[in-house]
Symmetry: C2
Subunit: 242 residues, 2 copies
DNA sequence: TCTGGCTCTTGATCCAGGTCAAATCGCGCC
DNA sequence: GGCGCGATTTGACCTGGATCAAGAGCCAGA
């Protein structure tokens, strides 16, 4: 019954028809036969904020696409110090091919909806479809670019610049118009203050003080702790370092 | 004349016969015909420390394999603050497929020897050979793992832990026996104090003080600023955080 | 509406690492 | 060997962000 609409939709599984991952994500590499095969063993699921998707050192037996929400990838030192090393938005692919164990923790930062497949199914398709591997390579390169951008932020920016850079990162994800496009952006932060601190290598107190300062200087306004309005993006950019 | 020994070496170009990149690097994905084709337009070169290989924002028209030495990838803020975002050792592949401009600077940290090819030649082969793309994907995933490890170091470790982690990183590259293998390691640092500081997000003074402390505590010994001996690796590991 | 338990903010103080300023070292060159 | 110069170390001091400690805001459930 998943396939009810085959004739009308070129054999694409219902599950996939409106899926963003099929357009911009890795599933775009697959033809309808492959999608049908994959859909048989794939399952959509919804996850609460804070739920752990993949534990560090844990053996991973499935990969996923992020369909909605934000997933944080973290690393933790033995004494509990934690660092967020990546944020995944829809329609990112979640998983580390060619390695059975994960080197990071993956955890839902917001409500997250996922489409997961058995590891083996993906790996079989990777062998068949160079296009799938190409998509994975492109996503991995994108993540590497982002990680390196963030290394500059972690290593060399001040607390004020870090917080401004973080807000810009989120703003750009919410509204990916050109950097100099719209002046005003408004969005809900997908992360708690603790998460933001773990992303920026700061404490929650410092993050909070920097938010207060940005608000006092009229660069942003904040409602209910989570809802942010950036009046003029350029003023935030001026504070982000670059 | 590059091909003089064809009959004796299954048609592999002289240039490639003893090349590490053919064994552990991306060229391992190519058959002898492809190597011959690539060798026609490839050239080996030697670079002095400090020489810039690829400028930030610069249009890149060639890719390379690192055959020897260490290449540092850096990012710089407009006011000059710099961060090293990656170190490439032989036989790493140097270049960013699918993007015409580099987002990082690449610079020789030591004497470096490279084998470079025109961008177009590689991209043509990537389309033909899924195996080449697979190798690139594996290397990119490895670099992403390394970048994320380093993000934890940059964001959450103390200066003392950062320096210890750096020494371990180099030691492991020089002597990649199992972590608990040999007790004593000795090597030359491929980076100056300035480079180390830029890698760790510290100042050169702080790096120097931490070296002095490690030496005073008998964890390492230093000759001529560059030559390091780690008597017992575990003592260094104990100081690296984890 | 009140209450308990969060998350977040604010204030006071401390200290790791930055900054500024001299030595000192290592090394190529005359 | 002596000189010059950049790289490194060392010392004295300062400060940005951490730490410690209260408050204040924001629900959810009774």
């Amino acid at each position: 019954m998943n396939l009810r609409q085959d004739v009308h939709n070129a054999g694409i599984p219902v599950l996939c028809q409106a899926c963003e991952a099929r357009h911009r994500g890795v599933c775009g590499a697959l033809d309808s036969d492959q999608l049908v095969a994959l859909a048989k063993s794939s399952s959509k699921q919804t996850i609460q904020p804070g739920a752990e998707l993949v534990g560090d050192m844990e053996t991973v037996d499935h990969y996923s696409n992020v369909l909605a929400g934000v997933v944080k990838l973290t690393k933790t030192l033995s004494d509990g110090r934690q660092q967020i090393v990546g944020l995944q938005f829809a329609p990112d692919f979640l998983g580390r091919p060619f390695k059975s164990e994960s080197a990071v923790n993956a955890e839902a930062a917001t409500n997250v909806s996922l489409c997961s497949f058995p590891k083996a199914a993906i790996e079989r398709m990777m062998k068949q479809s160079p296009e799938l591997e190409n998509r994975l390579l492109r996503q991995t390169l994108k993540e590497l670019d982002e990680a390196r951008d963030w290394m500059l932020t972690l290593g060399r920016k001040t607390a004020a610049e870090k917080v401004a850079s973080f807000l810009l990162l989120i703003a750009n994800h919410i509204d990916p118009t050109l950097d100099d496009g719209e002046e005003t952006v408004t969005f809900d932060l997908p992360l708690t203050r603790t998460d933001i601190a773990d992303f920026l290598g700061l404490t929650i107190e410092t993050v909070s003080r920097q938010f207060t300062k940005l608000r006092a200087d009229g660069v942003i306004s904040i409602e209910n702790n989570r809802h942010i309005t950036v009046a003029r993006r350029e003023r935030l950019e001026a504070r982000a370092g670059h």
